[in-house]
């Protein structure tokens, strides 16, 4: 893995009920994620994805680039910007920014319809 190299793209489309399953799995039942009517009442276009679900997709893309070994994902930092929605494809892309001491630093972005839902994501993975 060299500087400037891209990591394999990850594409996933969360279905309509994914936020409910993620709520159960994570314990985060904030109604903005699972109740479209509540979400609209607070000014959102509809129920939005959990940011930490989107972050999990960024984690998967980076662990995937490191042989799908959870031990090789050492660090991940992200900024939550924009809103993610169910039933729209998420595309996670990444580029190696730096390689040192057997570790690669990967700049990663998660987008839906060209809107960045996770930006300035930086992952450190063990390589080699």
């Amino acid at each position: 893995m060299d500087q400037g190299e891209t990591i394999p793209e990850l594409r996933v489309t969360p279905d309509k009920y994914l936020p409910h399953r993620y709520a159960g799995a994570s314990g985060d039942f904030n109604p903005i994620h699972i109740d479209p009517e509540f979400a609209k009442q607070v000014g959102l276009p509809g129920n939005i994805l959990h940011g930490l679900y989107a972050m999990a997709q960024v984690a998967r893309a980076n662990a995937g680039a490191a042989g799908d070994d959870p031990r090789k994902l050492k660090r991940l930092s992200v900024q939550f910007r924009g809103m993610g929605f169910p039933e729209k494809e998420i595309v996670v892309t990444g580029t190696v920014k730096e390689v040192r001491d057997g570790h690669a630093v990967v700049d990663t972005v998660a987008e839906q319809d060209g809107n960045k839902i996770i930006r300035n994501a930086e992952a450190e993975i063990e390589i080699g």
Binding site: V12, L18, R21, Y22, G24, A25, S26, G27, D28, G51, L52, Y53, M55, A56, Q57, A59, R60, A63, D68, D69, P70, R71, L73, K74, R75, L76, S77, V78, Q79, F80
Partner: protein
């Protein structure tokens, strides 16, 4: 903004990691590697039992973060709060059967461009005293 609570820590939270909970989480986030669901595959890969996906850290840390974010002494305006950013630094993997103890502290409180930043740190250790993850949770409140 009152910064006197920087350094405040909250009671430790203990979480017992269940095999089915790992499977439920792995399925929800779309993990396909059998090390997250199949005990034999996990053992063949060198784990004690099914291993948790890295982001499962949010599941076992949540019980420690709740009282910190809800602390009346910080008086966070939830109506205007956003989860602005998040960092995890992973060490020891977490497997089914582990007991993870997480402690949260107030790492930073600051105001920037009319926005208030409430930054918390969580440190999680397993039953052997080994650190599993260190999290930095940044909540932003618009309009002060």
């Amino acid at each position: 903004m009152d910064t006197s609570k920087i350094g405040k820590s909250y009671p430790a939270f203990e979480y017992e990691v269940g095999r089915e909970k790992i499977r439920e989480y792995a399925n929800a986030v779309g993990e396909t590697n059998p090390v997250y669901t199949d005990r034999e595959a996990a053992k063949a890969a060198g784990f004690r039992d099914v291993v948790a996906p890295p982001m499962f850290a949010v599941v076992y840390s949540a019980g420690a973060m709740g009282p910190a974010v809800l602390d009346p002494e910080l008086a966070i305006n939830f109506m205007m709060m956003l989860h602005g950013s998040q960092e995890f630094v992973w060490s020891e993997p977490v497997c089914a059967g582990d007991t993870i103890t997480t402690t949260a502290t107030v790492k930073d409180l600051r105001e920037e461009d009319g926005r208030r930043f409430y930054v918390f740190e969580s440190v999680s250790i397993n039953q052997d005293g080994k650190e599993t993850v260190r999290g930095t949770w940044t909540n932003i409140v618009r309009g002060g």
